[in-house]
Subunit: 335 residues, 4 copies
Amino acid sequence: MIVIMKPTAQPEQIESLKKELEGLGLQIHFSQGMNTTLMGLVGDTTRIDIGKIASMDIVEEVKRIQEPYKKANRKFHPADTVIKVGEATIGGGGFAVIAGPCSVETPEQICAVAQAVKASGASLLRGGAFKPRTSPYSFQGLRGEGIQLLLEAKKQTGLPIVTEIMSYEDIDLFEDVDVIQIGARNMQNFELLKRVGRLNKPILLKRGLSSTIEEFLMSAEYIMAEGNEQVILCERGIRTFETKTRNTLDLSAVPLLKKLSHLPVIIDPSHATGIPWMVEPLTLAAIAAGADGVMIEVHNDPPKALCDGAQSLRPEQFDALMTKVKKTTAFFQTL
Amino acid sequence: MIVIMKPTAQPEQIESLKKELEGLGLQIHFSQGMNTTLMGLVGDTTRIDIGKIASMDIVEEVKRIQEPYKKANRKFHPADTVIKVGEATIGGGGFAVIAGPCSVETPEQICAVAQAVKASGASLLRGGAFKPRTSPYSFQGLRGEGIQLLLEAKKQTGLPIVTEIMSYEDIDLFEDVDVIQIGARNMQNFELLKRVGRLNKPILLKRGLSSTIEEFLMSAEYIMAEGNEQVILCERGIRTFETKTRNTLDLSAVPLLKKLSHLPVIIDPSHATGIPWMVEPLTLAAIAAGADGVMIEVHNDPPKALCDGAQSLRPEQFDALMTKVKKTTAFFQTL
Amino acid sequence: MIVIMKPTAQPEQIESLKKELEGLGLQIHFSQGMNTTLMGLVGDTTRIDIGKIASMDIVEEVKRIQEPYKKANRKFHPADTVIKVGEATIGGGGFAVIAGPCSVETPEQICAVAQAVKASGASLLRGGAFKPRTSPYSFQGLRGEGIQLLLEAKKQTGLPIVTEIMSYEDIDLFEDVDVIQIGARNMQNFELLKRVGRLNKPILLKRGLSSTIEEFLMSAEYIMAEGNEQVILCERGIRTFETKTRNTLDLSAVPLLKKLSHLPVIIDPSHATGIPWMVEPLTLAAIAAGADGVMIEVHNDPPKALCDGAQSLRPEQFDALMTKVKKTTAFFQTL
Amino acid sequence: MIVIMKPTAQPEQIESLKKELEGLGLQIHFSQGMNTTLMGLVGDTTRIDIGKIASMDIVEEVKRIQEPYKKANRKFHPADTVIKVGEATIGGGGFAVIAGPCSVETPEQICAVAQAVKASGASLLRGGAFKPRTSPYSFQGLRGEGIQLLLEAKKQTGLPIVTEIMSYEDIDLFEDVDVIQIGARNMQNFELLKRVGRLNKPILLKRGLSSTIEEFLMSAEYIMAEGNEQVILCERGIRTFETKTRNTLDLSAVPLLKKLSHLPVIIDPSHATGIPWMVEPLTLAAIAAGADGVMIEVHNDPPKALCDGAQSLRPEQFDALMTKVKKTTAFFQTL
């Protein structure tokens, strides 16, 4: 961290700040310019509050050099994190496909979709039981009953299940869920992050609509700092001025996150675009860019879906895509 | 709501969709173009799921005409909502000033600030007990103890208190809090919105960093739909590409929200800009634009603040600002 | 400027970079941390190419401390720039109102509007002759003929005129124009900026839709570096995710630009919002925030306007607004 | 186009609007709701000014159904446009690689890079002679001399050349240039678009930093409307809140543009990210997403580059990438 002092800062003020920072266990190195004094801070600066230092009268600006995350940082953990869920593996070189409907609706629907996506080669089943909806008047999900239906589909197919939690008060319902999802709107619900950080269960963390890469990794750090290091990062589109797609998929986030962190990175092209025919080109692009997996919405009857049917693939479309996914994954593994 | 059919839609398909929509209690009116059929839906369309209709093979596009919010809508509630908290009033023509430190730190700090802002004319005291911080390694607030200190400051000054809740599990601690704040990062934490919607206590709802005006009003609607109609809307800066200010204050949101809704609208220039000298021009601008109040960070010793000190005013700066606020408010009431 | 070296940088490589930078007339100061070497560069760094240094193998990062603009910088020119155009003055404490139609259409239209806005107290007349339109099929302006009509309106009313240039090839037509406008879409048309920088005529420079404050000032610097220091900065809304207003007016840009630069700063609420009833609250807010003026669209018959009629005020609406503008300006001059 | 009337619109006012629209050659169809009248406009609505109709007192809102572009629209031109330049082909199923330095600097530099990229398999040579730089104090390019050097490199290698024009006044210098580039900052420099629209030479049009897909296609339409239908669309990153990459590559724009338009679509990963190691994953992702080509910065000595060296690949890095590009292109052609 570098602290740039104002030209008006007096030597005794600078000395006093130096003492305070040394009290935090940091080493201080000075650089004296013609009319600027720079202070270089060496040591563990993750606990330093930039805003506090920046607010001092004698300080012009504070610049952080090191990343503020540690547990999620590849520098301190060079090997890929590999997450195993039942027979599925996320991270470490493969390409995991998580598929299923936006919402769990009926036993017939979820079991039919589960069997279809399993037959096509998906390795995990997704399905929303608790649904974050912009309008209080929209379908809010089957909630506890939805999780029961997912567990039934798991029993029938053997597929591990991924489903979203919206409030920690519901945690008991998630006991048999394999992977708990934290949605984009809760990416900075810090109390929830801390709570799931104490579980021994993989967490699929979605990037917030307007969260930077650094904030995204800091939210993963919240979970990991509590002890749970099984975090899967999911890029699902960011909010921009473009209106033709629901959000803008930031595919460059995939290689960037994999460079900065050892955690597995997947994308969600269904939510990113809201357009079913765009799922295929973006899934193949994600493989090419080095993603560890993808999460795709599949519904046996999209027009009848109670939520986001417009963006779902039909099972036969998903099956055709999976054929390409398998070939493409194999190709890039040998490239 | 208007449903635009694809040119390939067959008459029997259109007829079938018409029947389904009529089953939801809507009246359907057709407009037959040369190669397009339009369906106009008349009735209460707030419960219609646009995505579901849009996903049908025969549908080209669906366009909503009416706003999807009702309780927050000025069309159905023309008079301003006025919220009374102790002796303070928010909405209905005055200009309420909420002031206090970012975080509650010590009994001395919160009481000193409370007395200072009261003396200058603030009508409510703010202070963070539960603090949403990007980093798990930053100060997270005094939590329950912080609320106790706020209540002590309230006892000493008579100022009603505003403080943020981050998880409904902590609700018991908020029993004597006057106004509960929902922070920007929780604006779409729908479970929390529903819960505070069942309280009989004003809720100060902050706009999310990348939330549209419509989403903001829908989150207010979540609270109101549960029965709690005492919602204060707070614009606190949106996320844009600009980096010189922390966020970009969307001041045009003030007249727009007041046109669309009857709820009181305040701004938070401290968080919007992160720059203390910008609080004054933007507060005066907010009065000119018709805001119902402002929320300002004040700290007795900004460089020692445990959080966001850099953006806080000192009590004497706040006092100078309040002199201008009073004159400006009086001026605009007679303009 | 601070250059942060990689831990792997060898002493002879660092020495070689030091020599190169000293060759550019800079003084170099070192700060040796435990595992990082920092180089502080003192001197005129405006001509240093950050990207070039950042691309060196031995460099981790380069951070600029000083602003990259000089002529537009208030640090080197503390007094406000005041621009006089005929009897109008922009900057230096007053509040100039520029008003007129989006497009010049007919002699009757422009003269009627000119007389009306003059009678209400506008000090300059605006009107588009060359019109930047998203579609090639939309009305492109009367071009040379439009300028003739503006000059006729000027003759009738004495109001100096402001109109936009889109290509330097048309410069001869602008000989008698008082203030030349560079539109938002041309804010980084650097060849055009250089050309108008050689004129002896005020330039009204609009901020680009997604330009940062710093880029905006750098574009002013392009004009000023060629010798023309009469630049008026105009904030006209930036592009964000919000869709209820055409753009998002960044009102905080007003105090920020006035702090960073000595140039006058005005706003254009008509283009920023696209909504006529929002012009009044935002104009009053701009006065409160310290703006030097405003540019407002006025049309004698908005529904018949050939361009952007939807956002124009009618003369009687403009007149009512001007009454408030005068009172508000007077109020803030004594606050 | 659908015109939604206000509930207060009187029959004679509606009738009068109907007549006016019929006068423009449109057919009007009415839909009478309970309290809303809708007017459907059938015919060529590209020349209708939405803003003008929206500004009428009796109109609530106007919604466009058809795309406002025609010549660029795949609906009216289903077959891919294929552009041939010398022996290179862009569009129609192949994958064209345009490579070269950001700026042309010396004869040795441009010829060395040209020979290297040709040897690796590039089919066109890029190089900036006129350089759009944020700062007037940065290197502005060799201008006319730079074009001469490009032509010399073309003579030596046979590679057709692509270079940017910044002002039409310089057009004579571009006589022997094969493809003229319009940069992102000039995407809505409409006068320049019209001028290059009268040339018989391919135009490489870069997407503006904050331009929507629709605006991008409308700028292509400006060129095509003048007669030049050889337009290559280039996605080069949009401006968002993210700061880790220079811009955010909108890869979803590739399949979207190819669906909406018949024009070839390429990406520029060098400018989009500003990070050389990200060029490879994003180039491979672009092939997977269906792009027609890529434009990559290559410099023989990046740290010595006068512009954007930080984002350039070295020839050996480019060569390694081209090996993967050829295999990947071949793979996807058979997928």
